[in-house]
């Protein structure tokens, strides 16, 4: 193949099937970590930095108890953030997710406490409410051609009213059903936590290796096996470490508290599920296409309206799930559920993790990374008993820095043609 003839004549074209990667270390590392969006790399570094800073300031930050608490603290906002990623991918915005989470949480709580419904029914009704809300908002955006900003802003106001109405004069509903309380707080038995970790690693390794094998059989360029093994080992180590930390007895009393909290599993389950959907299915590919160039997607035969409606439905459904998780964690749903910073934290988390605000770029793992960043800052500052104003300012600065760094790194990569 002749060399590519554009702005950088020094860049020789990589011959097909050669099995070699570009020379520089960063290029090889990021190329091999290509399963995770490359833009997340500086965010991971930032997260490590945050961990170091807070650990120095307060030696309990990286303790098993605090880390487990941190994971539980972020599972609600993190779940909602997955929905935000989907909406951002098609280049839209959803301002209603906070209010939807609160309202759907209240539906669950009221059905359980005031109507005595069993937990699965209450949870199902809460989730279904989210689905209906999402279909409604999505329809209004796609078919009535009202901008998503306006429709979801109306939702932000309207569903907040619905929350207050549902809660009624008491204003607070305390959960009593042990299944609802346990949804987030129940802990997996230690052996089950290890089993889930091993299963995940097994599937991950298997799919990575079989993918490699298929590429070799098709005669395509592959990542070198050293980097492949390093990447698999890194992920496996990370998963085992996380489960190990949560399986350590973190109790201060003689009653042991150990095991992966169920809410964490639910949150991670959503991330893995939607990562699969967005990157491996035709529906997911259509989402990226609509976000990148809706007209091109339409001409290629993709039903753009249907994609938009489905994405907003998923976002509201995930918001409902987040609201249910939040209610479970708090053991109650009240008038401030879904309010406060929850909306902006969900959006900030998605963006910090590397999702583009303009559509077409991002992964669901961004929700995990961003939620960890925001959650760590909040958690660390609580440990240091710092005032709220510092928390807000620091989070704002971190958001600004994260997006700026990401934009810079991306423009550098585009210049070098990768």
């Amino acid at each position: 193949m002749k060399s590519a003839n554009k702005e950088s004549p020094s860049q020789a074209a990589i011959p097909a099937g050669s099995g070699e990667q570009p020379a520089s270390l960063i290029a090889r590392l990021t190329g091999s970590l290509a399963e995770v969006d490359i833009g997340s790399f500086p965010v991971i570094l930032g997260l490590i930095l945050i961990a170091i800073v807070f650990q120095i300031a307060n030696s309990h930050f990286l303790s098993p108890l605090n880390l487990a608490n941190l994971m539980v603290q972020i599972c609600s906002v993190g779940t909602m953030s997955v929905g935000v990623v989907l909406v951002l991918l098609i280049g839209e915005i959803d301002l209603s997710i906070g209010a939807v989470s609160g309202f759907c949480g209240s539906v669950m709580a009221v059905l359980s406490v005031k109507s005595g419904m069993p937990a699965p029914v209450a949870i199902g009704a809460g989730v279904l409410t989210g689905v209906v809300i999402g279909l409604f908002q999505g329809f209004w955006i796609a078919k009535m051609h009202v901008p998503s900003f306006v429709v979801t802003l109306a939702g932000f106001l309207g569903w907040q009213g619905a929350l207050l109405y549902t809660l009624g004069s008491t204003g607070t509903v305390d959960l009593a059903d042990p299944w609802l309380i346990g949804l987030v707080n129940a802990r997996l038995p230690v052996w089950l936590g290890w089993l889930v970790a091993v299963l995940f690693i097994a599937v991950y390794v298997f799919s990575g290796l079989s993918d490699q094998r298929r590429r070799i059989r098709a005669g395509l360029k592959t990542t070198s096996s050293n980097w492949m093994i390093a990447r698999l080992a890194l992920v496996a180590a990370g998963v085992l470490a996380a489960v190990g930390i949560m399986n350590v007895d973190r109790s201060f009393t003689r009653v042991p508290i150990q095991g992966v909290p169920l809410g964490v599993l639910v949150f991670l389950g959503f991330i893995i599920l939607f990562d699969f959907i967005t990157r491996q299915t035709r529906f997911g590919r259509s989402i990226f296409a609509v976000g990148g160039n809706p007209e091109a997607a339409r001409r290629a035969g993709i039903n753009v309206d249907r994609i938009r409606i489905l994405v907003f439905t998923l976002a509201s459904t995930l918001a409902a799930c987040g609201g249910i998780l939040a209610g479970s964690r708090l053991l109650a749903v009240n008038q401030s559920s879904g309010g406060g910073d929850i909306l902006l934290d969900s959006i900030a988390a998605a963006v910090i993790g590397g999702t583009s605000l303009f559509g077409g770029r991002g992964t669901t793992w961004a929700a995990l990374l961003g939620a960890l960043v925001i959650g760590s800052i909040s958690n660390g500052m609580d440990l240091l008993a710092l005032s709220s104003y510092i928390k807000f300012m620091v989070t704002g600065v971190v958001l600004l820095l994260a997006v700026t760094l990401d934009a810079y790194a991306r423009s550098q990569r585009e210049k070098s043609g990768r």
Binding site: S3, A289, N293, E295, R299, A300, R418
Partner: protein, 266 residues
């Protein structure tokens, strides 16, 4: 020569009106396999309208369309694509955030079963393999089929769009202003690609304002003016002045008017 071959695509008597404007009036058009025909004319001459009627985006008020000798009804873009008529519009319709392989297969992704009948996932390996084959066959020069389209130059993007038009068993490819906004080297790449399409036996239609490019790559030139077909030229037998005269309507010696050879015989 041309009169011995049967056209692969033929339009007869196409008329199209938009309100008070007669965009096309009784226009005939024919494309032969292995032939590059340039469609030229001033702004408003009806070039875009004509190809949109052929591509099924518009429905002609009058006229008939024949494909491989059989009359066909092109009522939507899907009909045209099903016949094997592909159009590459000026905006290229590429997704910048996806790579070349994904763009080539946009909307028609290959899948494989993880759970038979239940779970289908995108078969990246098969698509990449196929994309490399197409790109290699057409001698399109890009760093990799996994390059994001946003990182490609204008000529590479045009080549990618044309490759997508060609890979789905197409028989006629229509290119709307393929070299507008391209530099010299990139224009050369695209013209080479057009010649390769012709060599593969496709019928190629090129709309262009650039007569130098038209003379370089087209075998025939059809001129539209004010919605009518006014001239047909054999590229080797004419020059730019004649073509310009036909485009603008200036009198300049004998010009070939209206009907292609052999129409009366049908």
């Amino acid at each position: 020569m041309a009169s011995e071959r049967k056209p692969i695509l033929e339009a007869r008597g196409i008329s199209k009106r938009f309100g008070a404007v007669q965009a096309l009036e009784d226009v005939d058009f024919e494309v032969y396999p292995g032939d590059v025909v340039g469609l030229v004319g001033d702004n408003g001459a009806g070039k875009s309208t004509l190809i949109k009627v052929i591509a099924g985006v518009y429905h002609g008020d009058e006229g008939r369309i024949f494909f491989e000798g059989r009359e066909v009804n092109v009522s939507g873009p899907g009909d045209a694509t099903a016949l094997g008529i592909e159009t590459v519009y000026q905006d290229l319709a590429l997704c910048d955030n996806l790579d070349v392989s994904a763009n080539l297969f946009l909307g028609r992704e290959r899948t494989r079963s993880i759970i038979p009948h239940l779970l289908q996932v995108i078969d990246e390996t098969a698509m990449e393999h196929e994309a490399e084959r197409i790109v290699g066959e057409l001698h399109v020069v890009i760093p990799s089929v996994r390059s994001k389209v946003a990182t490609l130059s204008g000529g590479q993007r045009q080549s990618a769009a044309v490759s997508r038009a060609v890979m789905w068993n197409s028989k006629v490819v229509i290119l709307d202003e393929p070299t507008a906004a391209l530099g010299v080297e990139q224009t050369r790449q695209v013209k080479d690609l057009i010649r390769r399409l012709r060599d593969r036996g496709l019928g190629v239609v090129v709309i262009s304002h650039n007569l130098a490019d038209v003379f370089d790559v087209c075998d025939r030139i059809i001129v539209l003016r004010l919605g009518r077909r006014v001239s047909t030229f054999d590229t080797h037998a004419t020059n730019a002045e004649h073509v310009v005269a036909a485009i603008t309507g200036a009198e300049f010696g004998p010009t070939d008017v209206g009907k292609p050879e052999g129409r009366e015989a049908v």
